[in-house]
Symmetry: D4
C-alpha cells in the first residue's frame, strides 16, 4: 500500500488518521536502538528479514537472531563466522551452520518448495557464493538444482548438464576470473539469467570487477547482474522470478 | 533441446544422424556472409531476432531488414538513425520510426499484449533509454506503464505514482547521474527491478559508470542491473519475467 | 588577519615590525619537533585544534593531548584506539572514550550548544562515521539530532522522521553502499546537505568510491560532499554553517 | 511540509483530504508531457526552478522558458548555446545572454541582494564555471565578490586579495588542473569553502577527475565539493549558506 | 646477431671494426628524417616492415610506401583511409585496398602460404579487426581459415565449426563486448590462442578495456592477449607460431 | 575430437551411442564432489592436469594430489605453502618442494626434454614468478634457459646474455615495476615473447596493473601477455609453442 | 624575495611600507581583466611568461601576444593553431610558426645558448611533443641535441646514438605506447632524465595514462615525470637543470 | 662509456677485445646467484649501489650488506625493518638505524657535503618519506635543509620558512592527501621541484594516487614527479641536480 492508497482509505473511513500517521512513522519497525527490524516485512513482500552477520557484535547478533526467530518461527543469517555460530548454538542448539556458504539458520520443518531455480558455478572456488544463492533460494521456498564446476574453459561439462538446467524458471550463473559463464548460459536458455561475479581469481581480476564488467557487457540476451559475491541478492531475485513462474 | 537430448533421440531413432549433424552445424542460420541470421530463434525462445542498426552499412541494413520481415511478417531495429529510416522507408513505406527511442519497426496489427511492466525514468534526459525498453517490451507482447521524471530528488513525485506501478510483474528503473532511483523503487515494490544506468549527466558521471556502480551496490533487495543505456536488454528480460508472471 | 591587513597595521603603528615578522614566522605554532601545534587557532577560527590519533606513537599522543588540554581546558581526539584510551586514562582519568565513534575527549562542563544539525545515517554500519560527525559538531557547540537507519531502500522510514529533520540549519547525510540517501534528503529540505560517503559495503563498492561518485553526481540541489568516512570534516563544516544560522 | 505534518493538518481540519491527496500526487507539477515543472518550488524552498538548457529541443526550450517566465516574472537558464539565445530573443527581446557563463536570463529589476559570497578562480580558463556560480548566486539574491586568476602557482596573487574575501559568508573555489586552490583558501578563512573542480587541463587531468580527487582529499577544514564544472550547484548551495548568515 | 656475437667476429676477423661500428650505428636504417626505415629487417626476422598509415601526412605516406615497395617488391599498410588509397593508386595503380580491414597493399604474385591459422570473430562488428589479423598473416605467408560470427551467446555456432579450426597451429580469437570467446576456444583446442579484444560495444565496455580484462583473466590454458583492436599484432605473432609449426 | 567428428563416428559405427552420450556427459571427469578432475586431459591435449594449491583444504589437497599421482605416475601443484608440503610429505616422502616458486611435485625419472625456452626476469623480486614459468615448462618437457636480473635499467646486462637467448623457440619475459623488459627483448629476437607482468613494485604499480598496461601497449612485434603473476600460464603456452618448434 | 625578506627590508628602511603593500597586491601583474600577466616574471625567475594559445579568443590572443612582445622584445606561444598564426602574422609579419610543435614565436636575434639538453623520442608520432620540449628549451637559452625514433623495440638505434647524448646536463625522454624509453636511458646516463609520456598509441594506452604509469614505476634511478604531452614543462625544467650545470 | 666509444677504443688499441667482450658481459656484476651487484657503479655514475631491504631474506641481506660494505667502505639500505637491523648489528655493531626513515647504514667519517637541497613535507605523517629523501641525499654528499609540517592548509607556515628554502639548488616537496604543496612551492622558487606523493591519507586518496595526479597536473612550472612514497628516488635525482649546481 502506498501513500495514495492510504489517503483514499483515510477518506473512505477504512483507515483512521492514527493508523495513517503510523503508516509514515517508525512504528513499522521494532526499534532496537542500533537497528530497526522490519517485523511486518514478510506479510508485505513475502520475504522475512535476513541477518547480514558480518561485523555484528555478539550482543547485537544474539538479540536480533532471537527477536526474528520469535517473530517468524525461523531465521536465517548470511556471512556468519564459526564463532558466531558457537555463540548462537549455546542459546539455540537447534541452529544449523554451513561453513561453505557461511549461512546460519533455524528453518521450519516440512517447508514446501515450489518451481525450480538452477544455480551454476564456473569453478570450485565459486561454490561458497553459489551455495549462498542456493540456500537463500531454498529458505525462501524455491527448489534448487545445483550444477557446479561447469566453467567455459571446458564447455562440454556445461553442455552435458543442460538437461538439468531445463525447466528452471531462472538460472543463477556464478563465476569469477573472466566471468564468461553467464553469456554462454544466456545463449542456451530462454529464461532470465542472474549473473553473480565473484572475487575469485588473482592479478588483473581486481577483486571481481573484471568479472562484473564481463557480465555487464554480455552479448547474450536475458542477462542481468548483481554485486560481486552477492549470492544472497541473486537467491532473492531468483525466488521473486521463480514465484512469478509458479503462481496462479 | 541440448546435446544430450539430441543424442538420446538419435539412439531412439526419433532423429536421424543427418539431423543431429545439422544440430551442431551452421544450418540453423541464414548465412548472409557478413552475418548469420538466426531464423529459427523465435520458435526456440519466443523472441524474434532484432537488428542493432548502429554502424550497419546501407546494403546490409536493407538486406537484413528485408529478410527478417519476410520471415516473421514483422521486424524491429534499435539505435536506427533518421538516415537509415529514410533508406528503409523507400523500400518499405509501412515502416515506422520514433526519433526519441531511435526504434524503427514494422509491427503486425492487433498484437495481443499481456501482463504489465512498469518503466520508470529519473529525468527527462533518460527518456530515450526508457522508451527503448518500453517499446521493445511492447513489441515482444507486454503491456507497459510509463512513469517518467520521477527522480529521487523529488521523492513525492514517485510516491504519487505508486498506484500506477502496483500490479506490474517487473519494474524497469532507468536513471543517469546518481542512479538512486532503482534503490528507492526496490524498497517500495515486491517484484524484480531491472536497473538501467544511463550515460546522462556530466563531470564525474564517467559516461554512466557512476550510475552503474550505484545500482550494483544497491542496498535494496530484488535489484539486478544491465549495461549502461541498454534499454533493449532491460525490455527483453522484463518481458521474460512478465511472461512467467502471466503464463498458464 | 591577512598579509595586507598586517601591513596596514604596521604602517599605522598598531603592530610592530617584530610582530609582523612573527606573523609570517613559525611562532604561531608550538613546535614539538615532530608537530607544530596551532595554539592560536581557536581565537582565529573559533575552532580549537583536534587530534587525529590514528598512527600516533604513545609518547606523541600523550604530549599533544596534554598540551592541548592545558591550553584549552578541553581536548578532543578522533580515530583513537582502545589502547590509546587506556594510555590517556592513566594520566587523565577524566577522559571519556566512545568505542563506536572512536572519539576520546575531555570536555568542559555546561557547554552551551546552539542551533541544530540533523545527522542521518543510511544503515547501522554507517553509525560510526555518523557518530564522529555528531560528536564533533556537539563538541564545537552545535545541537545535534540523530536519525539513523533511514536508508532509501525503505523510504517510509525517512519520511516518517522528517519532523525531526525540520528546523535544522544543515543536514549531514552518511551512507555507504549506493549512497543514495543524500539525494533523497536534498529533495526534501531547503538547507545545505553535507554528504559523507562511507566505505561500508562489499564487492564493487570500491571502499566507498562508488558512494562518493553517487553523491558527487546527485541530481538534487544543495548537496556538497566530503571525503569517504570523513565524519570529522562533515561535523566541522556543519558547525560552520550552523553558526552562520544562529549568529546575530 | 512533510507527510507527518500533512496528516496532522488533515486530522485538525486545516487541510482537506483533497489537498492531502494532491500533496502526494503529480499536481505539484505542471506536466508538459516531456517534463514536470515544479511551479510551487519557490514558495517551498525559496529557489525558483532553473532550466538546464543543454540538449533541449527548440520547442521544449521555448515552452519551458515561457512557462517559468510567466509564473515567476523572471527566468534563468544554464549551459545555453548562442543558437538557443537567438531562438529565445525572437520571442523575448528582453532576454540577456552571457557567452562566457552561457547563462540566459530575464531578471526582475531592482532585485535586492544580501550578504556576500566570494567566488575565486585559479586560472582564466576556469572563469566560465566561476561565472556560472557567481551569476546563479546573484540571481538568487546574493552579493558576489569575484576574485579570478589567483591559482596557487603564484600564491602572492591570492594573499594580495584576502581583504576582498574577508567578510564573505561562504567562498566558492573554482579550479582545474591540480585543484589546489580550495585547500589554500580553506586554510585562510573561517567560513565554508565550496570547491568546484573543473575539466580544465590536459593529459592526466582525466577531464576534471584529478582536480575532484585533490579537493576531496583536502587537508584543510571546512571544504566540501560539488561535481566537476558544476558552477550552478556551487552558486546554489553558497546562496543557501549566505542566506543563513544574513537571516534574522 | 647480438653484441656478443659481433665482438667475437671482430676478434676472429670475420667482421671489421668498421662493420662493428656500423652495427651499433643508425646505418641499419634508411633515414628519411621523420622516420628511420628498417630496411634490413626482413633478412633478420623474416618479416618485412609494415606501414601504420593512420595519421601519416600524404608526402610521408607516399615516400615510405614507395621506398619499401622498391626494397621488397611488395608492401603492406594497415589502418589506411580511402583517401590514402586514392593517393597511392595514382602513383601505383597495382595497389589494392580492402575497406573492411583498411589494409592497402601490393603483393607479389604466386606467394606460397604454409601451415594454418584459424581466425575467429565473435560478432560481425569484430570482423574489421579479424580481417586485419587474417590478411597480415596471409601477407606474411600463412594459410588462414576465417570463422566469423561465432560468439559465445550461441555456442552451437562455434561447436558446429570446430572441424574447420582443427589442424591450425594457432587460433586468433577476436571479440569485443564481454570477450568470452577466447576462453571457450581455449578449452576446445590444444594450440596457442591469441586473444584480441576489440573496442566493439557500448556502455561499460570502456572502449575494449572490459574485453581485455576478460581475456587476461581467462581460466583456460594456452591463452595470451594483445592490445585492443590490434589485429596486426595478432597476425604477426600467429605467423611466428605457425612458422614454428611448419619449419624444417 | 569435437561434436561434429563424434557424430560422424557414430554414423560410421566407429563409436557407439553410449560412447557419444558419454562424450557430452560428466563422465570425462572423476567427480570428487567438490571438484571434477579431468583425468583424460593428457591424452587429449598432451598436458596433464595441474593443482592450483592455494586455498585448498588439507583433505581436498591430499585427495586430489593422490588421485592425480595415481593416474599419471607424477603430479605437480602450484602456489603451495610450506604447510601443504609438510602435509603431502607425510604421505608421499618422495615429493619435492621449492619455496621460491612454491611448486610441489613428484616427477618421473629420466624425463626427456626438447627444444628450448628462454625465461628472463627483470629483477630478483620477479624470480618467484619466473621460476613458476620455468619449472612448469620443464615439467611439461621443455628445456629452459634461465636469464635473471636483466632489467632494462642496465641494458648491457641483457645485451651480454643474448647468446643464451638465441635459439629459443619462445621467450618468457617476466617483469614488474615498469615492465619494459618485454619490449626490449621483443626488438631483439624473432620468436614469440610471452610477457608476464608481476605485482612487484610499490606506489603507482597498482599491484601489477601498470606493468600489464606497459606490456599490452608494447611497440615491439611478437609480444603477447598473460595475467599478472601468471607464471604457470606463461610456462604452459611457451611449451605449446616450443613443441610446435620441435615436432615432426 | 619572500615575505620574510620583505619585512626585514621594511624594518631596515630599504623598502617602504607602500612597496611592501604592493608586494602582496595584484600590482605585480598587468591586469587585462581576463588575465593577469606576470610582467616581472623574467627578472624574478629568469623565464619570461609564455602563452598557452589553445582555447584563447582571437582578441585575447592578439592583445596578450602584443603586450608580451612589447615588454620582452620577444614572445613564444605553445599549442597554437594555424588560424591563430594567420591572425598574428597580419599584425606581426616577423612571427614564425612550426606546424609540428605548434609553436608560434618572435625570437631575438643572436640569442646565446648554453650547455646541452638531449631530447629523445621513441617514435615518429612522439615528435610533436619532443619538438615542443626542444624549442622551448632553445627559446629559454639551452643548446638542444635531438635524437628521434629511438624506441626500445630496436634498442641498437638508441645504443648507436649514445655519443650524441653524452655530455648533456639533462635528458628529455618522450614516449607514448608503453613508454619504456625513459627507463632504458635512465640506465645509460648519469644525469637527470625528464620523462614525458605522450598520448600516442591506441587501445589500452588510455590516452597516455599507461605510458605515465610505466614512467612513474621506472626501476631506473634519476627519472622524474611530467604530465602527458607536456613538452613545455619538460623543456622548462630541463632548462632549469641545464642552467645549474653551466652557471658559475 | 657507451658501445660506440668502446668500439672506437677497440679500434685505437686503447681497449682489448677481451675488455670489450667484458663490457657487454655480466662481468660488470658480482654475481651472487640471486642478485648481480653492480660493483663498478660508483666509478661510472658517482652513486654507489643501495640496498632495497624490504622482502630480502636474512641470508641475502647479510651477504649483500657485507659485500657492498667491503667494496665501498660504507653502505646504505632503505626500507629496513627493526629485525633486519638487529641481524646486521650482530655482525656490524657500527651500523646505525633510523626507525623513522627505516634507513640502515654505515657511513664514512668526515664525509664532505656540498650545495643545498631543501626537503619540505606537508604533514607530520609524510616525514618518513621526507627523511628517506633527506638521508639518501646526505649519504650521497648533499647538504639538506629540512622544512616539515608546512602543508598548504596553513600557508603562512610555508611563507614563514621561505628564507630557509632560498639558495637551494633543488627542492623536494613531499605530500600526501591532496598533494598541493608542490604547486605552491613551484610558484615561489626558481629551481627544480621534485614532487613526491605519499600514501598518507584515507578514503579517496587511493593510496597516494590522488596526490600523484595532483602533482602531475600542477599548473606551476619546474615540477617533476616520482613514484608514490619514493623518497629514495627523490633524494637521488635531487643530488644529481645539486651536483650540477656546484660542479665547476
Amino acid at each position: 500500500m502506498n501513500a495514495y492508497e492510504m489517503l483514499k482509505k483515510v477518506k473512505s473511513g477504512e483507515v483512521s488518521i492514527e493508523e495513517a500517521e503510523n503508516f509514515f512513522s517508525r512504528e513499522h519497525f521494532y526499534d532496537m536502538g542500533y537497528a530497526k527490524l522490519d517485523t511486518h516485512r514478510k506479510s508485505r513482500s513475502g520475504f522475512a528479514e535476513v541477518i547480514f552477520c558480518s561485523g555484528k557484535s555478539d550482543k547485537h547478533m544474539l538479540e536480533i537472531f532471537g527477536r526474528l526467530y520469535e517473530d517468524e518461527g525461523e531465521v536465517l543469517g548470511t556471512r556468519a563466522s564459526e564463532e558466531q555460530y558457537e555463540l548462537i548454538r549455546k542459546e539455540y542448539p537447534e541452529a544449523e551452520y554451513d561453513p561453505i556458504s557461511r549461512i546460519i539458520k533455524i528453518e521450519k520443518d516440512n517447508k514446501k518448495r515450489v518451481g525450480k531455480i538452477a544455480v551454476c558455478s564456473a569453478g570450485t572456488a565459486d561454490i561458497p557464493v553459489a551455495e549462498e544463492a542456493a540456500q537463500v533460494a531454498e529458505y525462501f521456498g524455491s527448489n534448487v538444482e545445483r550444477i557446479y564446476d561447469v566453467g567455459v574453459s571446458g564447455i562440454h561439462r556445461l553442455l552435458g548438464t543442460m538437461d538439468r538446467i531445463n525447466g528452471a524458471n531462472c538460472v543463477v550463473a556464478v563465476a569469477g576470473m573472466e566471468g564468461a559463464l553467464a553469456s554462454v548460459i544466456g545463449g542456451l536458455v530462454d529464461v532470465p539469467v542472474i549473473a553473480v561475479p565473484t572475487s575469485v581469481g588473482y592479478g588483473a581480476n581486481m577483486n571481481g570487477l573484471s568479472a562484473l564488467l564481463t557480465m555487464i557487457n554480455s552479448c547474450a540476451n536475458g542477462i542481468t547482474v548483481v554485486n560481486i559475491d552477492n549470492g544472497y541478492g541473486a537467491g532473492y531475485v531468483a525466488t521473486q522470478i521463480n514465484r512469478l513462474g509458479v503462481r496462479k
